[in-house]
């Protein structure tokens, strides 16, 4: 069918851009990066074969600027565009624009994207295809009064979701009507800012549920496969923090049964390329389809570690018209993989964003450790973009081996200059309910994880108390000596700055 892709423009930044660049290098494909003013020193600029400047820092003028990106791709002679996740990856206008300009879009068709992107429409299609969906409201709400009305009927708590959202963004919980009205305003503002539209819907908030998803791949010949499940129940503000495969509650029989439903769901929307079918699972073991994420997901390396597949290579193969080179029964789940999303956020202060220069960092390595990150010493974490700075993954023959490897790797991961979610994950990796596999989307609150984290910090402080005092003593000694002899230059310059500039 289509010819072999020989050059790819990566319409993204950060770790996912680097991920795609590495894949291009393996395949001998010319990699073309784009960058905003904010990203001149970003790692994807350094590692790509070529890098083109496309505009100012603000995403709307750079990484979301479709016309500019397509123009750049044409100018650079790119055969194809890989959108990564976020940004333009789920904008149904983008594949169309690519097609019109003779560029292969590495992802689903505009049509499939339109259906999957509209959660209400998707729900309808799925109901027709006998894919079980989550019970709740089935229409878009633009008016807060109507939302309040539906919420009253369904009973609080309810979830407010953006019909165009994804990855947990634009989902808010309301426990009562006052909160619903407050949150409705903010949710619609967020939805507008992120997707240009403010359509929301209301859904009853199911309690103690797990979020379990199935990785999908489907080619242009109608072959669809599922690549097993990922358990993504540990979330905050409905955004995933930790993902793993296998799920502790999915046995082989369930895997095959729900996997088959996932493949059916993909077929129902004539899906193309990599995607994810997301399900909720209630404590009784019922699975409800909620949506298809029509892109490569952040957590795709979890699946790569347990299947041995390279999902970006598969994406490229499918995009150039090839058939999926394996049958469903060829796949075998190998061991266990866990991913922790290292966000530049302060887990001790309600996940407040933390930005700025990173003078040094130590990326963990060793047996069973994989890291995908854009961090390097002297890089900068920008407030203009997503807070995900690294994905730390570990593999083990079984869950517990992956878990203790993760615990060690978290200890080895040092990032100077910003706060990250690493301390939270250190606590979770040793938390009893996590170890038992008793997970749900309210895991953090249910088991008072933040209190435990504070307790762990206290323990670590205790362990380091003598060393801390020793360091302060050393500093005093050092200052004492340097005041008289060695460090004269510094002393002088300090005096000077006092006199001259302050």
């Amino acid at each position: 069918m289509a010819e072999k892709i020989s050059s790819i423009l990566i319409a993204n930044r950060g770790e996912i851009a680097l991920r795609v660049i590495r894949c291009c290098k393996e395949l001998g494909i010319r990699s073309i990066a784009i960058y905003s003013d904010e990203d001149v020193r970003a790692i994807h600029v350094k590692r790509a074969d070529e890098a083109y400047h496309i505009g100012p820092a603000a995403p709307a003028q750079s990484y979301l600027n479709m016309a500019k990106i397509v123009e750049t791709a044409k100018g650079a002679g790119a055969d194809a565009i890989h959108p990564g996740y976020g940004f333009l990856s789920e904008n149904e206008n983008f594949p169309e624009m690519c097609e019109k300009n003779g560029i292969i879009f590495i992802g689903p068709t505009a049509k499939a994207m339109e259906v999957t992107g509209d959660k209400m429409k998707c729900k309808e299609v799925m109901n027709n295809a006998k894919v079980p969906t989550v019970p709740g409201s089935d229409g878009i709400i633009e008016d807060v009064e109507k939302a309040a009305d539906i919420a009253h009927k369904a009973g609080y708590p309810v979830l407010l979701k953006s019909a165009f959202g994804g990855g947990g963004r634009g989902i808010r919980l309301a426990n009562d009507e006052k909160q619903l009205r407050q949150e409705f305003e903010m949710a619609s503002a967020e939805s507008k800012a992120a997707f240009g539209k403010a359509a929301l819907f209301v859904e009853k908030y199911l309690q103690r549920i797990r979020h379990i998803e199935f990785q999908l791949i489907r080619d242009s010949h109608g072959n669809g496969r599922h690549l097993f499940e990922r358990e993504c129940s540990i979330q905050r503000r409905h955004q995933k923090l930790i993902e793993m495969s296998p799920s502790p509650v999915v046995d082989q029989k369930t895997r095959e049964r729900i996997g088959e439903i996932a493949v059916r769901a993909a077929a129902a929307v004539d899906y193309l390329n990599a995607g994810t079918a997301e399900f909720l699972r209630d404590p009784e073991g019922n699975f409800y389809f909620i949506e298809i994420n029509s892109r490569l997901q952040v957590e795709h390396p979890v699946t790569e570690l347990v299947t041995g597949l390279d999902l970006v290579k598969l994406q490229i193969a499918v995009a150039q018209g090839e058939e999926i080179p394996f049958k469903q029964e060829d796949l075998k789940m190998n061991g266990c993989a866990i991913e922790c999303r290292i966000n530049a956020e302060d887990p001790f202060y309600d996940f407040a964003p933390s930005v700025g220069p990173v003078p040094t960092c130590n990326i963990p390595y060793g047996p069973g450790v994989r890291v995908d990150t854009y961090l390097y010493p002297t890089c900068t974490v920008s407030g203009y973009y997503d807070s995900l700075v690294a994905k730390l993954l570990t593999w083990g023959r079984h869950f517990d081996e992956a878990r203790v490897r993760m615990r060690n790797a978290l200890d080895e991961f040092a990032i100077e200059g910003i706060n990250t979610t690493i301390p939270l994950y250190k606590t979770i990796m040793e938390e009893d309910n996590f170890i038992k596999g008793d997970l749900s989307t309210d895991y953090l609150d249910r088991f008072k994880i933040f209190d435990k984290m504070a307790g762990d910090v206290k323990e670590r402080t205790k362990d380091r108390a003598s060393a801390a005092v020793a360091a302060v003593l050393l500093q005093s000694e050092f200052v004492k000596k340097s005041g008289t002899t060695e460090n004269n230059a510094a002393a002088r310059s300090k005096w000077k700055s006092r006199g001259a500039t302050s």
Partner: protein
């Protein structure tokens, strides 16, 4: 000198008993003697072995009564207690400006997307004053106490840095 580490209840006394030219130091901490071997030292960074365990310490901020320090990856605050510093601290606590109390500061950097109150409004602790956007998230900054909004220091669309004052509440 006595030291208070983090929020640990007990104080630790500490002193340098002896230093040798080869980097070995004898220190007394918490009433016990410890052998310390200094491996590397800069103005703000130390690597040393204390009783056969390696430690890395980076001093972030150092004052006469308080040191902010990262030990083996863990940020800590060490407060120095000597009679003099205690006196100074008490004096500053009594005679301090107290002005910080009026100011509502931003704990994060971001862009102001909404100002929810007007100057002169009465607010309760926890009411939303300003909504900031950073890293694609909307974060509400809430009143830190009950009171009256005397001033709003930022405009919609403005960028604020961490610790910038957003509003004055009295």
């Amino acid at each position: 000198m006595e030291f208070k580490v983090g929020d640990l209840a007990h104080l630790l006394d500490g002193e340098v008993l002896r230093t040798a030219g080869d980097g070995s130091v004898l220190v007394k901490i918490g009433g016990k003697e410890h052998n310390l071997r200094l491996l590397r030292s800069g103005t703000n960074e130390f690597e040393f072995i204390l009783d056969n365990t390696f430690h890395h310490a980076k001093i972030l901020q150092s004052g006469s009564s308080e040191v902010k320090i990262v030990v083996d990856g863990q940020p800590l605050t060490v407060k120095k207690h000597s009679k003099l510093t205690e006196v100074l601290e008490k004096a500053s606590a009594l005679g301090g400006t107290g002005g910080g109390d009026r100011n509502l500061a931003s704990q994060i950097p971001g862009r102001v997307v909404n100002i929810s109150v007007k100057v002169g409004a009465d607010v309760k602790k926890g009411d939303v004053i300003v909504v900031l956007e950073s890293m694609k998230m909307q974060v509400a900054v809430k009143a830190h106490k009950d009171g009256n909004v005397k001033d709003i220091k930022v405009k919609q669309g403005a960028s604020v840095a961490r610790n910038d004052i957003l509003a004055v509440i009295e």
